[in-house]
């Protein structure tokens, strides 16, 4: 089945494009800072302004030119890629993990003696889903004041698991009524063992799809926080902050805003295409 899924993935042009984009961004994040060769937070005042009075344009020393504080733009983009992808991937891991645990526990407890657990968790999910996500993230980010990458990860991860929990609960309800699961319970296997050995593998497919789409959401969320300046403090290079810093020069040096904007766009596009490709490959009946 895995080979069939792999073949379906390979035949899906959009999925392959998404994979290429994601791989490219990961490579950019991994080796881009080394290739760029400049400290992203150090200004080079030896470089001149351009003829329109904006920060210096592309040159041999600085292939993408300089930002408003005379820092190498390529270096900042590459370091920003590390931040965005790290936040996207780790926050997604947190979100998917919490959502999976809550969903499985809730689905397993439903309609049984511990049904109140299911009710309580699903009411919590309802409350969580009723909040506008970005507003909730912004409010927490502002309230925290002193923001580090760990707080960003946790804030994003712990405020975005609600939808995952609902989907996993639904899948758990399906799986637990299957014969082999019923048999396992009848043979006296403890609940945690049944969840780990039988339920989790059957919800892994949807979780992978959710995860790959969720990374795109996290990249956007982190960029929004940075754009609104409630994310990581300066001078940390993040795509969202670079977009915010570059907008005042849009008329004289649009590359300052276009470059980070393009990176955000590619990140979101790549992970969305990848996620859709994985979904189509794993469960073609749903397409």
């Amino acid at each position: 089945m895995e080979r069939r899924a792999l073949r379906r993935f390979q035949r899906n042009r959009g999925a392959v494009v998404g994979l290429v984009i994601v791989a490219g961004l990961l490579a950019f994040a991994a080796i881009g800072p080394l290739l760029a060769g400049h400290d992203p937070n150090t200004s080079d005042f030896a470089a001149a302004r351009d003829g329109l009075g904006g920060p210096g344009g592309p040159s041999r020393a600085h292939p993408l030119g300089l930002d408003p504080l005379f820092r190498d733009l390529a270096s900042r983009l590459a370091h920003g890629a590390r931040v965005s992808l790290l936040v996207g991937l780790v926050a997604t891991a947190v979100s998917v993990s919490v959502g999976a645990v809550v969903g499985m526990v809730s689905g397993w407890a439903a309609d049984g003696r511990a049904g109140f657990v299911d009710s309580a968790l699903m009411r919590l999910v309802d409350v969580g889903l009723s909040f506008p996500y970005l507003l909730l993230v912004m409010a927490i980010g502002t309230a925290l004041g002193d923001v580090t990458i760990v707080t960003i990860l946790l804030v994003l991860g712990l405020t975005s698991w609600f939808g995952t929990a609902r989907i996993v609960r639904s899948k758990t309800l399906q799986v637990r009524s299957l014969d082999f699961v019923v048999a396992s319970r009848a043979l006296g296997q403890p609940s945690w063992a049944v969840l780990l050995r039988h339920v989790l593998p059957n919800v892994a497919g949807p979780l992978i799809v959710i995860a790959s789409a969720s990374v795109a959401q996290m990249i956007i969320a982190e960029s929004v926080l940075a754009y609104l300046q409630v994310g990581l403090p300066p001078p940390t290079a993040t795509w969202g902050r670079m977009l915010q810093e570059g907008q005042r020069y849009y008329t004289v040096a649009p590359r300052l805003a276009v470059a980070p904007g393009l990176c955000i766009f590619l990140g979101v596009l790549g992970f969305n295409l990848l996620g859709e490709g994985v979904r189509d490959a794993l469960d073609p009946k749903e397409t």
């Binding site: 899906n12 042009r13 302004r49 329109l52 403090p233 005042r248 849009y250 004289v252 040096a253 649009p254």
Partner: protein
Amino acid sequence: MRSIPRRPEATRLGVAILGVALATVACEADVAAPLGPRREVPPTQGGVLRSAFFTDVRSLDAATAFDTASAVIEGLIYDQLVTYDRHGKLSPQLAESIEVSPDGLRYTFTLRRGVLFHDGAPLGADDVKRSVERTLHPDTPCPVPSYYERIVGWGEYHEGRAPELTGVRVESEHVVSFQLAQPDATFLHVMALPIMAPVCESAGRTWTREFSRRACGAGPYRLVRFEHGDAVEVERHDGYWQSGKPYVDRIVWYLAMQPFTQRFKFERGDLDYIRELGEADSLLYRRSAAWQGLGEWEQPLSTFGVFMNAELRPFDNRHVRRAVAFALDRDQLAQVRPGHVAPTGRMTPDAIAPEAVRDVGQRHDLDRALEEMRLAGLAWDPATRTGGWPEEIEYLAILDSFGQQAGELLQQQLARIGLRVRIQLVGFPTYLARTGRRRTVPMGSVGWNADYPEPSTFFEPILTSRAIQDEESQNASFFSNAELDALLARARVTTDEAERGRLYRRAEEIVRDEAPWAVAYSYRYFELWQPYLHGYRPHPVLQQDVRFAWLDRGARPARAGLFPWRRRSGRTTLALATVLP
């Protein structure tokens, strides 16, 4: 979840996106043409004038509001006994005449007849006394009470030991006098501040927070609406004492609007006047032939820098403060916003600095900075990057201000002497609250705009012991120096200009040597207005004084339209339409 688009749609989408990106990059820098013709029209009433701040306005209570944004709006709502004319000279406003006794101790103001407050009540001498006492009341968080300490009875009244300010006397219905204990060369200047504006009786005899939302004075405009983070709206006061004025029906000042947004709204005709242009945009407008005569640099009457809290470590050590002052490379800051930022190492701006102080100031010297760190016991070795102050230092800056950019450069510069800075960004009201609270913020961006065209305004309200309060302190450095206090007090009572010059020179030397601030730069804005806005030019003293501007409503177009770039004053190469699928 929708399906992946098939190949032709995906290809078109990709080409469209690539085209937009390339078109954007290829877009030539240009500005939209002015809206409508410039006609010479006499002052006429009518219309709505709109502008914007990128900060919020914290308060409109004349007794307490003391920031630049509030001062602009207060200038619309309140009139004072005296003000500044178009040449920057003191001139009577609500006072018809001013008499100063030969010994300089008594100022008698004869009020104009027929002046009405916004609530319709006539202005009398007792209103002046009531308003002054409200401002200087012990329960009022007035930011600069020491400006008026020479009024007889100030100490007893301000400390709550007397029920009235005896030095302010109601001589008759329209005559009020101020008796001073000592001559004060700056007295008429401080009487020109909005803090001394007569306010309506509805303000009460003591300060309350609520009055800010229903501010009421005798100025040309009355407050209609004040929503934090949204807008302030004022309308013409029909009972204003200057017949036929003001001209505009209403003025709307939008708050917390980013400069980037202001520029595009200005081009669309949603704003009529703009001051907070980004440096790149102001350069484009200044170079544009179409905008010649519609913009002007303001007079730079401000000084900016970095304050260091002398009550918090490590800045309780003067050698560390001096190290920061030496480490700061002011020329680099100026390169970030050329034309707008001018480096300086002294408190008094060029426009009002006496000759005696012009060669005094802080300067950049990295070797001296390292030496000062060694004297502080925090020697830093640049080769091994060891030593210095072991903890990160919080640096408070206003969100999206030049202080933020300066902070990021300061981080690099201070790292060279072993000081690690962590930037904390906050909105303007939060910045004022936190920097004014004792033992809260160790370091941050700071700036001061001249209250009046006199050197004392750059020392007394922000660097003297009297300016220190536990809350709402204007002295963010909490710097206290007895010699500075004493010589500033002498300078206030000295009328000999040469002697005052010497005293202010010594004041500059103290700031240079003790470094409560690392003085960095002065900042000026390029102000721009649409051709249909008349009667406005940057004032030499009063910021954004649009009180008596008028609009040529016949020349003002209804709306610029969704695409103002079609009216570009030059050629445009935007090729968006050619790549849309």
